[in-house]
């Protein structure tokens, strides 16, 4: 049982609900139960996960799946595309990819990482981080950032566009590209395409490095807030290569505990069900994965930027590794767990992706035309795993002799982070909720805790602080005390109780 998951005597507690949460893809809400001393006894993040994914995929020919899965999500289609095609490489019986094919897939993936992270930081998170969590909500958006940090805002758009252009060049189009196919790639890269991307990469690296150092300065200037906000220990998981370096595209599973000690390492992700288990709880539609050997209570973990760069032994590019070391220095030899560290880590990953893009663009093998692996005997079951921008993404398929998918299990990044996001909400509620007055700033604090994970469940909107939300406060007798509401226009007000 998790602390603050279920109150011992909920009937005597006041219920506070945030419904719905902004910037959670799909529908989510937060409920809090507090006692008369305003102590939080229960905090839950309820997310309605769209469960039609597997049914949508089952029954389709396996060769369609890498294209079809892109339609599951408009925010990270390339991640699903690559995870699915990695599984279908094996289903179709292909051997190792050709060097050119793998480098093209990596370029595609790093472009996705760069544009996704850029969008999240510069566009969704920066209003809170740069303007303040309690700042005027009418300005706490990209327009406010443009007014106060115009150069930064423009850089964010260019970074985002640059990543999308990489995807367009490699996959043939910005969206629904068919670049990766079972066994390799269906399009080579021309010299002209390569040169166009190479022209701007140095600038992208420079801008990203500047952003990393800006966030570092925030943490150094206000450590009592930025390092402490939503700080709770957790296990962490990510993909690493054989030398322990972070590998976004392919590797083995590694998990570490809150102290950085190895739980498991170099686990072939095809055997993920040997080390991970998914639990169902009655109050949420989203599953709760955990590390089997530690059990449900102690085995939950976080994935994504903050977990990845600390689970790995190092980053393979020099500038990003320097920045990673600077961030981890705050832990004095142990991992850091403050929720806002996610943003710092996300920018470090953006820098890492940009450096790897530069290295690929300098590699003549990238322009090769040998794109298909050697064929072999078909298989009936395979797993494809990738580090999507938001965290580890699992695609597991079974295919029958008619080449049709008979089984599909997806563990998306946000599902992996389900318990961690719950803990973030609980920690922030415990840290900041005073129980006496519900303020717009309080709502935003809880949202910021969730937002740091950049959750994504479907191609719904992330509306920053503007979606309708109500928080109601009742005493232990169930009597209404306070209701704060933010309407669809973003206006926040306390409302009098009307019987």
């Amino acid at each position: 049982m998790f602390a603050l998951e279920t109150a011992a005597n909920p009937g005597n507690l006041r219920r506070v609900a945030i419904d719905p949460i902004t910037r959670v893809e799909g529908h989510g809400k937060v409920t809090l139960l507090l006692d008369d001393n305003n102590k939080v006894h229960q905090a839950r993040l309820h997310i309605v996960e769209f469960r039609g994914f597997e049914a949508f995929i089952e029954g389709r020919p396996y060769w369609e799946v890498p294209v079809t899965v892109q339609r599951l999500c408009g925010i990270c289609p390339v991640s699903h595309h690559l995870a699915a095609v990695k599984a279908m490489d094996l289903i179709a019986g292909f051997g190792p990819l050709t060097p050119t094919a793998e480098k093209l897939r990596r370029l595609l993936h790093y472009g996705q990482i760069l544009q996704s992270h850029a969008l999240h930081f510069f566009y969704l998170a920066s209003p809170d981080i740069l303007l303040g969590f309690d700042s005027d909500h009418t300005r706490r958006n990209i327009i406010g950032v443009v007014a106060d940090y115009p150069d930064l805002a423009r850089q964010g758009v260019y970074l985002r566009k640059y990543g999308q252009e990489i995807i367009r060049h490699v996959a043939g189009k910005r969206v629904h590209g068919t670049g990766a196919i079972p066994g390799g790639m269906n399009k080579s890269l021309s010299q002209a395409e390569r040169d166009e991307m190479a022209k701007d990469i140095a600038q992208m690296i420079s801008w990203t490095q500047g952003a990393v150092q800006m966030v570092q300065k925030l943490h150094e200037t206000h450590p009592d807030f930025y390092n402490v906000f939503g700080d709770f220990p957790s296990n962490m998981m990510g993909l690493v290569d054989k030398d322990g370096a972070l590998d976004f595209y392919h590797g083995a599973l590694r998990a570490v505990d809150a102290q950085g000690e190895i739980i498991f390492d170099q686990v072939d992700y095809r055997a993920y069900q040997d080390v991970l288990q998914e639990e169902i709880k009655p109050w949420s539609y989203m599953k709760f994965p955990h590390i089997k050997s530690l059990g449900a209570d102690d085995g939950w973990y976080k994935v994504g930027p903050l977990a990845r760069i600390q689970t790995a032994s190092y980053l393979s590019t020099p500038l990003a590794e320097v920045e990673r070391q600077a961030m981890m220095a705050l832990g004095h030899g142990k991992p850091v767990h403050g929720t806002l560290m996610f943003h710092w880590a996300r920018l470090i990953e953006t820098l890492h992706a940009a450096e790897m893009i530069r290295d690929l663009l300098d590699d003549p093998v990238l322009l090769g035309t040998d794109l298909m692996a050697e064929p072999g005997p078909r298989r009936h079951e395979a797993v494809g795993v990738i580090e999507a921008p938001r965290g580890t993404l699992f695609h597991h398929y079974r295919v029958n002799d008619d080449d049709l998918v008979t089984y599909c299990n997806l563990i998306v990044s946000t599902t992996n982070n389900n318990q961690a996001m719950n803990e973030a909400v609980r920690t922030v509620a415990d840290q900041y909720f005073d129980g006496r007055e519900v303020t717009e700033g309080l709502l935003n604090h809880i949202e910021c805790a969730i937002r740091a994970y950049d959750p994504c469940l479907s191609c719904a909107t992330h509306a920053l602080g503007k979606m309708p939300m109500e928080v109601e406060l009742r005493n232990s007798a169930g009597e209404y005390l306070d209701l704060a509401a933010r309407d669809a226009s973003g206006h926040f007000a306390h409302k009098a109780w009307v019987a």
């Binding site: 958006n141 910005r174 629904h176 719904a460």
Partner: protein
């Protein structure tokens, strides 16, 4: 920066997920437009003047696609719309979607005007087509198919400058 070849004067952006029921209206009409531009004799004069883009949602980087355009048309399915289809000229407008993965056309224009004042905003028209069902895996509804036929007339006229 992030340079591309000289932009074509007309830009058509279709918004929608081809696998979510009537959300496919935008992509379906864009494909029809693509075929028409390639094959219709009456399209010869405009064939090289039009750029087509398709995406699940309108995102911030599309403001850079507004550069050097004479006119822009956005095509999207609409939920809870009374008319089968309607075409509206939109201007910069800050709304709820301003900081999200799925910006409204008005929010995109407002962000562009604020962030890149050097870009001359082109006239932007939004063609909204009534959709009924938006479930994953569902085909276009019968009503949506009929609405698409109506919408095609708007699109053809818009391309030919007759709207």
């Amino acid at each position: 920066m992030v340079s591309r070849e000289k932009q074509r004067p007309l830009l058509v952006i279709a918004i929608g997920n081809p696998s979510r029921g009537d959300d496919a209206l935008g992509p379906v009409l864009l494909q029809r437009l693509r075929d028409w531009l390639l094959n219709a004799p009456e399209a010869v004069s405009v064939r090289d003047s039009v750029e087509l883009i398709e995406d699940f949602q309108l995102q911030i980087e599309y403001l850079l696609d507004l550069q050097q355009r004479a006119r822009v048309l956005l095509i999207d399915a609409a939920e809870n719309q009374a008319e089968a289809c309607r075409c509206d000229r939109v201007g910069p407008h800050v709304d709820n979607s301003i900081s999200s993965h799925a910006m409204s056309p008005g929010a995109l224009l407002a962000t562009c005007a604020s962030l890149f004042p050097e870009i001359t905003l082109p006239p932007v028209d939004v063609l909204s087509i009534q959709g009924i069902c938006f479930e994953l895996g569902e085909p276009l509804s019968q009503q949506a198919q009929e609405n698409a036929c109506l919408a095609w007339g708007y699109i053809e006229n818009w391309i030919l400058g007759q709207s």
